[in-house]
């Protein structure tokens, strides 16, 4: 019997003109790792909610059709009555924590299910071992790193003994290494315990290699099947599949290991010299002249922690710089310190010779514009239009500046919409437009790709390139190696608050074991980072395997 059965489900939210999902039929078997993919707003979250009973019990709306979880109908069983069957892990683990210590959090679900104390005791120990968090048992949850928190959340969901685990973007906030850790823990659950795992993920490249089944949601419709079949029908695919399409590999390999076996044949058709000119990243000429942004001995401390240690930066105009490093390596602190709004212990910054920390906020943002990790913190008006008007007023720009910028960045955002109701990508574009309306010399973005789908990321890459082409310096902190590979000229790696590597993105990304993008891993030791790089280096052959 299938673990999850969805029969002809149609979900319509209150006041919505169209159903979020229409006539969906999906079955997921026991012991399967199933990945759910789809663009933002495609109904992916709704499908996930259906599988936990969250939709419609918590979200409201109307559900037609039937959803059976382990044989229980979600119409008659609210989420709490499914708690012994389905475990759920959200995007932001901290928001779902009930207790304040690791051990208590692990036990919480079992307490609700009235598991006998002796059983609870042993199961908590099992969870601590299974997820490798035994040394954290007494730690307050708030002091854990993102990867640790996510593993605790998975352990807490798992401790109650469910047969199904539903995870909504479990690795979106994590650096590549921590994401690997979490995904390794998830695959171990499928392999060792025969658990059914459903994962929604924007960065398909991170999970697709582990998947047994892929569900693709687009416009409220659902395609389900074996990963390589479903991928064939998808427009935006992970780099590995894109490369397979380019090289004519069928069936498309889904893991780096499979792809590497096919790589030698492709490598013979690539012209190494062409790589240096190919691709977006290499297109920009190395700018000369004085650096636009410099910092000397910049340090940030919080109580007894050194977040940033004596960092010297020299960034020229017209360059996109990616700032990478583990969670907590000081990327955000460095950006806030450069902007002048964040704490700074020592050191100086100069943008065009002026330190933004010495200016009032309104003048500082004309030098350096920062889009923080939670862009919605900047939004406080009722509508998009009013937000734009306010932005013009605050920036002292001509009326309509911000709106024009937004239309340019992302056409089709409704003026009357509430900023909080926008999708992640739209909200990011709005905040970016607000910051650009002050026309800053340097624009900085902290984790801009969080929650963005492939299409939104591609659009953001174009936006950032054009901002750089306008003579601005662009600095972005990101965990997304594929995005960094597609947009950055230069890469700065941070660890423990120090700059550990600084150089051309191509050299550093291909050299790093953790941060190498998929294409670089497959074609190592070649210099190619992205599929367009490879396409540009490809010698056309008569066989016709090459795409037009």
């Amino acid at each position: 019997m299938s673990a999850i059965q969805v029969h002809g489900a149609t979900v319509t939210y209150a006041g919505a003109p169209h159903p979020a999902l229409s006539n969906v039929d999906v079955a997921i078997d026991q012991g399967v790792l199933c990945v759910v993919a789809g663009a933002t707003g495609s109904g992916k979250s709704t499908l996930l909610g259906l599988m936990t009973g969250n939709v419609p019990h918590f979200t409201g709306g109307r559900l037609d059709g039937r959803v059976l979880i382990g044989g229980r109908d979600t119409r008659t069983h609210p989420p709490r009555e499914l708690a012994d069957l389905v475990g759920r892990v959200g995007q932001d683990p901290l928001a779902g924590f009930v207790a304040d210590r690791v051990e208590d959090e692990l036990a919480y679900g079992m307490e609700q299910l009235a598991v006998a104390p002796a059983t609870m005791r042993t199961r908590v120990e099992h969870m601590l071992d299974l997820l490798g968090i035994a040394d954290l048992r007494d730690r307050p949850l708030r002091t854990l790193s993102g990867g640790q928190q996510q593993r605790v959340a998975i352990g807490a969901a798992l401790a109650a003994g469910p047969r199904i685990l539903v995870l909504d973007e479990p690795s979106s906030a994590l650096d590549p290494t921590a994401a690997e850790e979490v995904l390794a823990a998830i695959t171990r659950l499928v392999d060792d315990l025969g658990l059914t795992v459903v994962v929604a993920e924007h960065r398909l490249e991170r999970v697709i290699g582990y998947a047994d089944q892929l569900i693709y949601v687009a416009g409220g419709r659902v395609t389900s099947g074996a990963p390589d079949e479903v991928l064939r029908g998808m427009e935006r695919v992970p780099p590995i599949v894109e490369l397979a399409r380019l090289a004519g590999w069928t069936p498309a390999p889904l893991t780096i290991r499979e792809a590497r076996r096919l790589a030698p044949a492709l490598l013979t058709r690539l012209v190494p010299a062409a790589a240096a000119q190919g691709g977006v990243a290499a297109a920009a000429p190395t700018p000369q002249g004085r650096p636009l942004l410099t910092s000397r001995g910049l340090s940030v401390t919080y109580r007894d922690v050194v977040a940033v240690r004596a960092v010297d930066l020299d960034i020229r105009a017209g360059v996109v710089v990616a700032l990478m490093g583990r969670n907590g390596s000081g990327k955000s602190s460095l950006m806030w310190a450069v902007q002048g709004s964040g704490p700074r212990r020592a050191g100086s910054v100069a943008v065009d010779g002026v330190d933004p920390a010495n200016l009032d906020p309104a003048a500082a943002r004309r030098l350096v514009g920062l889009v923080p990790q939670t862009p919605s913190d900047l939004l406080y008006r009722e509508t998009v239009a009013s937000e734009c008007t306010q932005a013009d007023h605050e920036a002292g720009a001509a009326a309509g500046t911000c709106r024009a910028l937004l239309a340019n960045l992302l056409p089709g955002v409704d003026d009357a919409q509430h900023p909080r109701d926008l999708s992640e990508g739209q909200r990011l574009a709005l905040v970016l437009a607000i910051q650009l309306s002050a026309s800053p010399r340097v624009i900085m973005l902290d984790e801009p790709t969080r929650g963005l789908d492939y299409a939104a990321k591609a659009r953001l890459a174009v936006i950032l390139r054009s901002a750089a082409a306008d003579g601005r310096a662009v600095l972005l902190a990101t965990h997304d190696v594929e995005f960094a590979a597609s947009v950055a000229d230069r890469l700065i790696m941070m660890a423990q608050g120090e700059v550990v590597a600084d150089g051309p993105a191509r050299d550093l990304l291909t050299a790093s074991p953790a941060f190498a993008p998929q294409v670089a891993r497959i074609l190592a030791p070649g210099p190619w980072l992205t599929v367009p790089d490879v396409a540009a280096a490809l010698v056309p052959v008569a066989s016709g395997a090459v795409l037009p």
């Binding site: 936990t52 009973g53 969250n54 019990h57 918590f58 609210p78 989420p79 709490r80 009555e81 708690a83 012994d84 389905v86 475990g87 759920r88 959200g90 932001d92 928001a95 779902g96 924590f97 009930v98 207790a99 304040d100 208590d104 036990a107 919480y108 679900g109 079992m110 307490e111 609700q112 299910l113 009235a114 598991v115 006998a116 104390p117 609870m120 005791r121 908590v124 708030r142 807490a156 109650a160 806030w336 902007q339 709004s341 964040g342 009032d360 906020p361 309104a362 003048a363 500082a364 943002r365 514009g369 923080p372 919605s376 913190d377 900047l378 939004l379 406080y380 605050e394 607000i434 910051q435």
Partner: protein
């Protein structure tokens, strides 16, 4: 236990063979409230000082390693502030009391309707002393509550609430962890406002700060509610409608009984049957209702704090301290509440003193918080063994 058995190792004096464990928070609260009851019945600075001393010794001996365990000092400082405030107020709002005038403040004339209130005027030694006694008593009460808070983790106490109150307890735990998140949210949004060049101070900045913070906390509470629901919070066992109605009726009757009973007990003019009997009946009805209601909630507690002999002993000591003060008050009222006009030096009465000093015993009788390390030779192999396990 055998490794530490008397046959194997020579134990220095004062070695505690018990393994460390936290005492049930309820026991600490009973002990502290017993001392608070004792403190509330006396104004003698000697007895109050003794109680404060006992609190400090016990807190130092048995507080845990948790971050809030160091907060006892804050309660002591708060007590000091209370004393200073009390004395200052009495100096300013003085009024004739006693005969030993120390100095005279300029009197501010008040209109006729403010009869009985005066500002300024002569300040007597008796006024100062009475204010000091009063303030000291309040400060001791605060210190008692503080000691309970430091010795017993409030969150652990919430975990041992009866089943019927479990959902309320959960909500309180969540509230405790949400408060720091709210502060964090405010700081983050304030910082973000600067990025837009907006103002971060003044009344006009409020909408820009409040809206994102509110939206943020709303999002967060929805996420938390969904997460709790998904983990089985609020699951109820099937209970027949009649049983539910009986539970409700019992709870209502119990609450009513307690209310009327308390009123009867405190109001001397009401008939006797309205007092204690009704109060007892109300408590009984309420307890039955809680028990019945608890059956509806099916849950278990992870590593519950056991109530063992140590707990009973510590709680009993608190009760003894309260009773001793009550007896002392009846036997020698002048020692428990020393007279100010005419002034007499406070003296100690043996009953009250013994009662308070007994309350020192938990510093030894309560189980230790960490492993008692007697000598280096004992500690080292133990530590190595633990590392080997891990």
């Amino acid at each position: 236990m055998t490794a530490h058995g008397p046959g194997r190792l020579r134990q220095p004096a004062g070695f505690d063979p018990r393994l460390p464990r936290p005492l049930h928070p309820g026991a600490w609260w009973v002990w502290a409230l017993g001392l608070a009851t004792a403190a509330s019945r006396t104004t003698s600075p000697l007895l109050l000082g003794l109680i404060l001393g006992v609190l400090i010794v016990v807190v130092n001996a048995r507080r845990s390693d948790s971050p809030w365990a160091g907060l006892f000092r804050i309660y002591l400082v708060a007590g000091l502030v209370v004393i200073v405030l009390r004395v200052t107020l009495r100096v300013v709002l003085g009024g004739p009391y006693g005969t030993h005038v120390l100095f005279t403040l300029p009197e501010i004339p008040l209109p006729d309707w403010a009869v009985g209130v005066s500002i300024g005027g002569p300040v007597t030694a008796e006024t100062l002393l009475a204010a000091f006694y009063d303030g000291l008593r309040l400060a001791t009460l605060i210190a008692c509550v503080g000691a309970a808070n430091v010795l017993a983790d409030a969150r652990r106490l919430l975990r041992s609430v009866p089943n019927a109150l479990h959902e309320v307890g959960s909500a309180l735990v969540v509230a405790l962890s949400v408060a720091p998140q709210l502060v964090e949210s405010v700081l983050r949004v304030r910082r973000a406002r600067r990025l837009r060049g907006g103002r971060v101070r003044g009344v006009r900045a409020i909408p820009g700060l409040l809206l994102p913070v509110l939206a943020d906390s709303l999002d967060r509470s929805l996420a938390l509610a969904a997460a709790m629901d998904a983990r089985g919070y609020g699951r109820v066992a099937d209970v027949p409608a009649r049983a539910r109605h009986v539970t409700g009726a019992l709870m209502l009757a119990g609450l009513g009984g307690i209310g009327v009973g308390l009123y009867g007990l405190l109001d001397t003019s009401s008939p006797a049957w309205l007092g204690l009997p009704l109060l007892a009946a109300g408590i009984a009805a309420g307890a039955t209702g809680l028990w019945l209601g608890g059956r509806r909630v099916q849950r278990s507690t992870y590593r519950p704090d056991p109530w063992q002999r140590d707990e009973t002993v510590v709680a009993a000591i608190g009760v003894v301290a309260a009773i001793a003060m009550w007896i002392a008050g009846a036997l020698s009222p002048s020692a428990v509440n020393p007279s100010i006009v005419p002034f007499t030096w406070p003296t100690l009465t043996p009953v009250a003193t013994m009662g308070i000093l007994i309350a020192l015993l938990p510093a030894r009788l309560a189980p230790p918080v960490r492993v008692a390390i007697a000598a280096g030779s004992v500690a080292r192999p133990a530590r190595r063994a633990r590392k080997g396990e891990a």
